[in-house]
Amino acid sequence: MAQPLVKKDDDRDDEADYSPFLGIEKGAVLQEARVFNDPQLDPRRCSQVITKLLYLLNQGETFTKVEATEVFFAVTKLFQSKDIGLRRMVYVMIKELSPSADEVIIVTSSLMKDMTSKTDMYRANAIRVLCRITDGTLLTQIERYLKQAIVDKNPVVASAALVSGIHLLQQTNPEIVKRWSNEVQEAVQSRAALVQFHALALLHQIRQNDRLAVNKLVSSLTKGSVRSPLAQCLLIRYTSQVIRESANNNQAGDRPFYDFLEGCLRHKAEMVIFEAARAITELNGVTSRELTPAITVLQLFLSSSKPVLRFAAVRTLNKVAMTHPMAVTNCNIDMESLISDQNRSIATLAITTLLKTGNESSVDRLMKQITNFMSDIADEFKIVVVEAIRSLCLKFPLKHRSLMNFLSNILREEGGFEYKKAIVDSIVILIRDIPEAKESGLLHLCEFIEDCEFTYLSTQILHFLGIEGPKTSDPSKYIRYIYNRVHLENATVRAGAVSTLAKFGAMVDTLKPRVFVLLRRCLFDNDDEVRDRATLYINTLGGDGAVVETGEDVKEFLFGSLDIPLVNLENSLKNYEPSEESFDINSVPKEVKTQPLAEKKAPGKKPTGLGASPAGPPSTVDAYEKLLSSIPEFANFGKLFKSSAPVELTEAETEYAVNVVKHIFDGHVVFQYNCTNTIPEQLLENVTVIVDASEAEEFAEVASKPLRSLPYDSPGQTFVAFEKPEGVPAVGKFSNMLRFIVKEVDPSTGEAEDDGVEDEYQLEELEVVAADYMLKVGVSNFRNAWETMDADCERVDEYGLGPRESLAEAVNAVINLLGMQPCEGTEVVPNNSRSHTCLLSGVYIGNVKVLVRLQFGLDGPKDVAMKLAVRSEDEAVSDAIHEIVASG
C-alpha cells in the first residue's frame, strides 16, 4: 500500500477510474494498522489507515472476531494522540466495530475522560460513543454527566445527550432515562432549534404511556414557543394523536387543537405547512370546512418548482380523493398539467387522483391523455392506473365502451404477469357487474388468450368463458377460440379448454353434437389429464351427440359451486384414511375459519414436501367433534352443527379462569366449560358447573360430566348437556356456579392433603342467542346466489338503530347479532361515508341457506337507519331472521 491516501495536489489528468483505494486488500490494511502501536504516533498516517478500514467495512467487507478485537485494541491506543481529526476518526471506528461488553471496559475510562473534557466536540462525541456501546451497569456511573450534558449551554453537547437518551430509552435502560425528565423539560425551552427538537422527542417518549401528561405537554406547547421546524412537525404529530384519542369523548362542538393545526398552515417552513396539511386530511371524520384550508396549501404545492413538494402534495391529495373526491376537484386543473410531469411517480399519482375525482364528461378526454402516458411508465405504475380505471368504470357504467377499449388495447401491448393479471381481473369484474359490457369483454379476453404466454391467465379466462359464454346471445362464436387452445397450448391449458367445451355442450343444447365431435378428438391427446377429462365429459353429457336437453344433475356437476371452503375440504381429505367406507363430502365442516393471525403474518412459511408436518393446527371444529363424540353421554346427539367461540365467564386474573364453548346439535346444546386453576397452593377435585336454566324455558338438563381433578395451571373441561326442541332455535339465559372440592397443596413437595373442603364460585351468566344457530358460510358470487334464491321468500323491513357511535360500529353490531359471514369485503365501511350496503350469507339450523342484504344510512347526525332484506330457502327462516333483528 504505497499509495498515499490524500493527494489533492497531484495532477488531475489521471483516468476517470482512478481511486485511492484501488487494489486495496483487507490483510494488507490490517498489517498497516500496526502503526497504531508505534510509540511515536503519526496522526496523519493513522487517520489514513482508519479511513481505509472504514472504507473496507463500508464496501461490505467483514472482519472476523479475532480481527475485529485486534483492530479494536489497536485503535484504543490512539487516545494518546491529541490530534482532533484523528480522535474523530477513532470515535467513528469504535462505533463501527461495536465492541463486546468485556472489550468496552478498555475504552470506558478514555471516553469518560473525553466526556468531562473542556473541548465541547470531545464531550459531544464521547457521549454518543459511550451510550452506543455501553451496557446498563456503566450507565449509572455516567448518569450524572449525562443529566448535566442535557442542559449544557453548548447545543451540540445537549443534542448528543438527548439523542443518546432516545436510543437508550428504546433499547436497554428505559428506567434510568425516565429519571431525566426535569432536565429534558428544561431543554425543551432551549433556544437552539435542534436541541428543542431532540428534547421534545425524548420528553414525549418518556411520557407516551401517560395520556394526561401528553395532553398537557401538547396544550402548553401549542400556545407557541416552539421555534424549530422539526420540533413543530413533532408537535403536530403529537397533537393529531391527542385529537385521535380524545375523539370519542368529545362529540359536539369544535375539534380541540384544530386551530393550532390550521395556524401551522401559515408557518414559514414548508415541512411544517405540509405536516399540518397532511394531519388535517387524516383527521377522523374530517369535514369539508376543515379540509378546505389544507387543500388550498396543497394546491399551491402542486405548482411548485420542486418535485419533492409536488410529489408530497399530489400523494396526499390522492389519499384525500378516496374519501372526499369533491374536496379535491378544485385542484383538477393543476392535476392535469402534472400528467406530463418529468417525474413519473408524480404523473401516475396525478392520473389516479383525476380518475377518482373526474366526472363523467371528462372521462374521454382523460383516457386520451392516459393512452400517451401508458407507454412510458413502468409496470408497477400501470397496475395502479388499471385499478383506478376499473373503479372509474364501475362508477360510470355508461362509459364502459371507451374504458373497455382502453383496457383491451393495453392488454395487447407488452407487459409482465402482474400487469396483465390486473387488466384481466379488471375486465372480468366489469363483465360481471356491467351486463352491457359482457359480449365485448368476452371477445377481448378470447383474443387475448390467442396469444397469451401465461398459463395461469389462460386457464382462468377459459374457466370464466365456460361460465359466461353459454349465456350470451351467440355462444357458438367462442367455440373456435376455445378449440384453438386444444391445438396450440400446453397440457394445463388444454385440459382447461376441454372443461370449457363441455360446459358449452351442457348449456347450449344445439351446440351439443358439434362439441361432441371436438371432445372425441381430444381423446387422442397425449396428456393423461386431457384425455381423462374428455372421456368424463363425453360420458356425463350423454345423448351420444344428439340434440337433447342436458340433465339437471349433470349441470349441477359441471356448474355447481362447491359450497365448502377449500381449506376444510383439504383438511378432511388429508385426514381421510382409505378404507371400505368412501369419502363423504357432507362430513366436511362448512364453517368459514378466520385464518389464524400468525399464519397471515408469515406467508409462504407453509411446510412443503412429504416429510413436512401437517400445516397448522387441526381445525377447531374437527377437534371439538372428536372430543364430544368420545364422551358416551353425548355420542347419540347426532352431527355437531356449530361450536361458538369461547365466552369468558370470569374476569381476567381471578382465582379460577373459566370460559364456555356452546356446542349446538339439532336437538341438544352442550356447554363445554374450560377451567383453569391459577392458585399454586390448591388442587380442585370433582369440579362441576351447576346451571340454573330457569330463564331458559325450552331447555332441560339431560347430562353432565364432572372434571375429576384440576391441578394448578393445567386446564380441564367439564360439560353440561341440555335437551331442546328439535330444529328450533331456542334461546335463553343460564346462570352458572362452579362447585368443587378444594385441597391444600404443599408448595415445596407438590403433594395435596387428604381432606378437602367443598366450595363454590359464582360465574357470570351465559346466553344462547339466535346467532348460535347460524353457520358462517360464504358465497363466492353474492349477486348470482341472491338471484337464484326464490324472491317469494324475501322479507324486507326497515329498522331504526338509534344513535350509534359510527356507521361502522352499527354494521359490526348487526353482523355480530346475526352471526353471518360478510361477503365480498362489505363488512368494511369506508371512512366518512353516509351510507353503506353490507352482504351476509350463512346457513341456519336445519341446513337452510340464508342471504341477507343490509342497507345502512345515517339519519341525522348519529342516528342509523337500516333496511334489511332476507332471502332464504324457507320463508319461516326469513321471518326468524327479522325477529332476531327486531328483538336484538
Binding site: L5, V6, K7, K8, R12, D14, A16, Y18, S19, P20, Q48, T51, L54, Y55, N58, G60, T62, K82, I84, G85, R88, Y91, V92, K95, K118, T119, M121, R128, R132, N154, V156, S159, A160, S164, I166, H167, L194, H198, A201, Q205, C233, L234, R237, Y238, Q241, E270, M271, F274, E275, S305, K306, P307, V308, L309, F311, A312, Q342, N343, S345, E380
Partner: protein, 177 residues
C-alpha cells in the same frame, strides 16, 4: 406511524451505482446482500432522471427515496412510506451541501474518495441511529472540518468562523469558474 421522523439510510453512490459511502440506520436490510440489492434497485430506478438542479423523489417497495446528483456523485436519502417527504429532502439537502463545502467545490467521485474521511464524518454528524442530528450544511461541514482547529477553543465559536471561511471559499470558487 413512527412519531419521530426517521431516516432509514443515506447513500452516496457513483455514476455506475457503486458505493462511495453508505450508512444504514434501520434493520430493514439485515445483510450486505440485501443492502446491495436495495442500492441496485434505487440506482436503476433513478439513473435516467435528471436530479441535478432540484432534488427528485420516488417511491418504491414502500420507501420514499429523495435524491440529487452532481457530476458523478449520486446522493440518496431513504425514509418510510409515511415519512414527511420534505423532512427527508431537508436532510438530503444538508448532506448534499455539506459534501459540497467539504470538497471545496470540486464535487466528483475522485475528490470524494480522496476525502472519504470527511464524508464519513459528515454522515456521522447528520444522523445518529436514524434520528436527525443536524440539517444545516454549514454547521455540519463546520463540525467535520476541524482539522485545522485549535483544540483548546470552544467549538461553537470555531464552528461559525470555520463555516464562514468555508462558505467564503466556496463562493470564490464558484465565481471563478
Amino acid at each position: 406511524m413512527e412519531l419521530c421522523p426517521t431516516i432509514k439510510n443515506i447513500l452516496l453512490l457513483d455514476s455506475e451505482g457503486k458505493r462511495i459511502a453508505v450508512k444504514y440506520y434501520s434493520d430493514d436490510w439485515p445483510t450486505n446482500a440485501a443492502k446491495e440489492a436495495f442500492e441496485k434497485a434505487v440506482f436503476a430506478k433513478t439513473q435516467k432522471t435528471n436530479a441535478r438542479t432540484e432534488a427528485e423523489i420516488t417511491m418504491f417497495d414502500n420507501y420514499i427515496v429523495v435524491y440529487k446528483f452532481v457530476q458523478d456523485l449520486h446522493f440518496f436519502v431513504t425514509g418510510g412510506e409515511n415519512e414527511n417527504e420534505i423532512i427527508l429532502a431537508t436532510v438530503l439537502q444538508g448532506f448534499f451541501d455539506a459534501v459540497g463545502l467539504l470538497l471545496r467545490g470540486t464535487e466528483d467521485k475522485k475528490e470524494a474518495l480522496e476525502n472519504l474521511d470527511l464524508i464519513l464524518l459528515c454522515l456521522d454528524e447528520i444522523v445518529d441511529g436514524g434520528i436527525i442530528l443536524e440539517t444545516d450544511a454549514n454547521v455540519i461541514a463546520g463540525k467535520v472540518d476541524s482539522h485545522s482547529m485549535d483544540a483548546g477553543a470552544p467549538l461553537s465559536e470555531q464552528t461559525i468562523t470555520q463555516a464562514l471561511a468555508t462558505a467564503r471559499e466556496h463562493l470564490t470558487r464558484s465565481l471563478l469558474k
